[in-house]
């Protein structure tokens, strides 16, 4: 009789545990967050109130980009002035904290190193025409390139060597490849202008450092038409965000910047109409506590946002495609020739550049697991002429921030590593004249001495005449290629030993961290008590049987 009762009690207990299992099935069961889709997103052509092909101003043959710009400005009177106030035009940024002059115009990066003395090539990605040296007129409105951002025909291309001008005459590119780029029909392009699409922004931002996916790792041409897996927001069959859905733009001022990142935005989602401090951040739409959690989770997931960036869990890997990204560029092997004494190229098994006599060695990777750092949104740079310690890895830029700071979060980074030339007497990185047809350009004449000499002269820097190669690294915060929520990181990816956050200090991470002293004492006590009862019980048993026997 009492056994039946016991059985009943046991089955009741079993039911409770089974229920717990069922509950556990939906960790942080979140319904899709309410996304307010800004009205500017993905406007099809038909939604514009203007058919540009009907405008008289555009019904003529344009001989050059600046001519088109003049026509644009005849109606859009303030457009050029607006653009001229942006980084897309100035390529310059002054760090309000350090006063450092940054921006592509000034810094030495870890890829092609610097635009100084190489403007004719680099300015293929400048939103302007004719920047070929330091004498460029930054006030000439006709030099603003409207079409690189507003072309909707995908026929408007700017190639290295043209100082930002589009292809006016049919030309083989790359040189010697047998592939030809057609001359652009400026009239057609001008008549079909539209709001920027992913391809417009991507024509530069996907191809930074001279090739698809090379620079960022979280930006490559797969984002022109991505699936949900690659980017849950840009998903061409789903939300279909354009870049400017998040990088909301007003007066040509595009929000969101690597130089001044909002690394730790807090508070609820921003209401439409409210002046947004940082519309490009995840929190602008999602708020900083977006997870719907059962009482069992006690807001545990949402609390993570006090320590982690959204991106840390929601971008489990970057370069999640076959394009991949460059993770290392070693300039020290550049100028090495083939057995025939001629420059040569080597590709890796996926067809990506592995060696180029002009540029050195490259390493590529896809589906890359980020490295994690504390980050408060401020990045300090090793600027031109700043002393370096050649015995150490030179951090070209360094994300600042640390544990315990209210404005710091753990962020995912692409760390691009490499080696580049430095002045071994003065101990600073050098400006190398790489691109050009002249005798001193590294890619024309394969002579480091001449290339450094010319580059340094252009930059107005002293060169000792001696150079070496130093190990460098550059950190790129990862923020694009946001995965669908089911692909977000699971708890155990970090909450264990040797997990993703192994290198992160300043926090107690359950599952990773222990007090070894406490654990040792604890296990010792447990072991001793076990030993004690075994000896006690064993003695009892022994005496019992001895007695019987």
């Amino acid at each position: 009789m009492s056994q039946t009762k016991l059985l009943f009690a046991a089955s009741l207990l079993g039911a409770v545990l089974a229920w717990s299992t069922a509950w556990g099935e939906v960790p942080g069961a979140a319904r899709p967050a309410n996304l307010a889709v800004p009205s500017g997103s993905a406007i099809p052509l038909g939604e514009s109130t203007v058919d540009h092909s009907k405008l008289k101003e555009l019904q003529k043959n344009f001989a050059s980009g600046p001519e088109v710009t003049k026509a644009c400005l005849s109606c859009h009177t303030e457009a050029a002035k607006q653009v001229q106030h942006t980084k897309h035009w100035t390529w310059e940024y002054t760090d309000p904290k350090s006063g450092q002059k940054l921006g592509k115009k000034n810094i030495i990066n870890n890829f092609c190193t610097t635009s100084i003395s190489n403007e004719k090539d680099c300015m293929a990605c400048h939103a302007g025409y004719g920047w070929k040296d330091a004498n460029f007129d930054f006030t000439a409105e006709a030099n603003v390139d409207c079409l690189i951002c507003h072309d909707s025909t995908a026929t408007y291309r700017k190639l290295p060597g043209d100082a930002g001008h589009p292809v006016y005459e049919r030309r083989e590119f790359p040189h010697g490849s047998g592939k030809f780029v057609e001359a652009v029909d400026l009239q057609k392009v001008a008549q079909s202008v539209a709001l920027p699409s992913r391809s417009n922004c991507g024509s530069c931002h996907f191809y930074g450092a001279g090739g698809d996916g090379t620079k960022h790792g979280d930006l490559d041409s797969a984002l022109k038409k991505p699936g949900k897996y690659l980017d849950v927001h840009m998903d061409a069959k789903g939300l279909n965000f354009t870049c400017s859905t998040c990088h909301a733009t007003a007066g040509h001022k595009v929000s969101g910047s690597r130089y001044e990142m909002a690394a730790a935005l807090t508070g609820p989602a921003e209401t439409r109409g409210k002046a947004a401090a940082s519309p490009a951040a995840c929190q602008s739409c999602h708020g900083d506590k977006p997870h719907k959690e059962s009482i069992l989770h006690a807001e545990r997931l949402n609390t993570h946002s006090n320590k982690l960036a959204c991106q840390t869990c929601h971008i489990p890997q970057y370069a999640r495609d076959s394009i991949g990204t460059e993770i290392s560029w070693d300039w020290s092997t550049a100028t090495r020739m083939g057995t025939d004494g001629k420059p040569f190229l080597v590709k890796d098994s996926a067809g990506r550049r592995a060696f180029d006599s002009k540029k050195g060695n490259f390493v590529w990777d896809s589906y890359v697991v980020p490295e994690y750092r504390w980050f408060n949104g401020h990045v300090s740079y090793k600027t031109k002429g700043e002393r370096i310690d050649p015995g150490q890895i030179v951090e070209i830029n360094r994300p600042e921030g640390e544990a315990g700071q209210a404005d710091s979060r753990i962020w995912p980074f692409k760390i691009h590593r490499g080696k580049q030339a430095y002045d071994s007497e003065n101990n600073y990185l050098v400006v190398v004249h790489t691109a050009g047809e002249d005798d001193t350009a590294l890619w024309a004449n394969f002579d480091w001495q001449k290339a450094i000499g010319a580059g340094m002269q252009t930059a107005g820097m002293r060169y000792s005449g001696k150079f070496g190669f130093v190990s460098t690294e550059m950190s790129w915060p990862i923020t694009h290629m946001v995965a669908p929520k089911n692909d977000a990181l699971g708890c155990a990816q970090c909450h264990r030993e040797n997990g993703r956050l192994e290198g992160i200090t300043g926090i107690y991470l359950p599952g990773r961290d222990h007090s070894y002293l406490l654990d040792n004492i604890g296990w010792m006590v447990v072991l001793l008590s076990l030993l004690g009862v075994l000896i006690h019980g064993g003695t009892r048993a022994y005496l019992h049987f001895k007695h019987k026997g």
Partner: protein, 212 residues
């Protein structure tokens, strides 16, 4: 051989409480040490979820049990006493090996021997507050900021207090289970805890009989 009497020691609720608590505590230990990173079974996330749920289940159980203890007056069973503690210590240290008579006789009014009472009070007054206090801080970490605790208490301390409590519980568990074998047969205590009935070697009435 003495005749034996059966006394009803543990009532139905008490037994339900004991065994469901046993299962829950074991499950807390199993999931807790997984969260601590000792081994891998459910996976970190599941282990945390089960651990939390089991904690709530234990608290619910205790809400009923506290009510039961006070309405039945059974809480008095846990009032510690030093009376005859040394006799118990001597028994476990020596007497038990030579078949000496147990110095303590269970009755429905005194179910626990003096050592047991001390152990349970220590569990209730020391281990429980440590493990539950730290556990609550741990569980409600999300609210630290609102409560102004962020920065005031390092999470590591809370975690260490909780871990220390867990080791104490594990030690208690080992010794507790072993002591169940010290009845007149190795399984006698377990049987009593299952059925509620204790078979008492009928010494007292026998003595009485001889005296009378």
């Amino acid at each position: 051989m003495n005749a034996s009497t059966r006394i009803y020691l543990y009532r139905r609720y008490e037994r339900f409480w004991h065994w469901s608590q046993a299962v829950l505590v074991i499950f807390m230990l199993v999931t807790g040490f997984e969260i601590h990173g000792v081994y891998k079974n459910f996976g970190f996330q599941r282990a945390v979820e089960y651990h939390t749920l089991t904690a709530w289940a234990l608290l619910t159980l205790w809400a009923f049990t506290i009510f039961w203890q006070f309405t039945t007056g059974e809480w008095r069973q846990y009032i510690p006493t030093l009376h005859r503690v040394l006799a118990m210590v001597r028994y476990y240290a020596y007497g038990i090996f030579v078949n000496a008579p147990h110095p303590f006789h269970k009755t429905p009014n005194k179910k626990h021997n003096p050592l047991q009472r001390l152990a349970y009070v220590a569990l209730l007054a020391m281990v429980s507050p440590l493990i539950w206090g730290s556990g609550f801080f741990y569980l409600f970490y999300a609210y630290w900021q609102d409560l102004g605790l962020e920065g005031a208490i390092p999470l590591a301390w809370v975690a260490m207090a909780h871990t220390a409590g867990a080791f104490m519980m594990l030690t208690f568990f080992i010794v507790h289970v072993y002591l169940t074998t010290t009845g007149h047969t190795p399984l006698a205590h377990i049987k009593t805890m299952l059925t509620g009935w204790e078979e008492v070697e009928d010494e007292v009435p026998a003595n009485k009989a001889s005296a009378g």
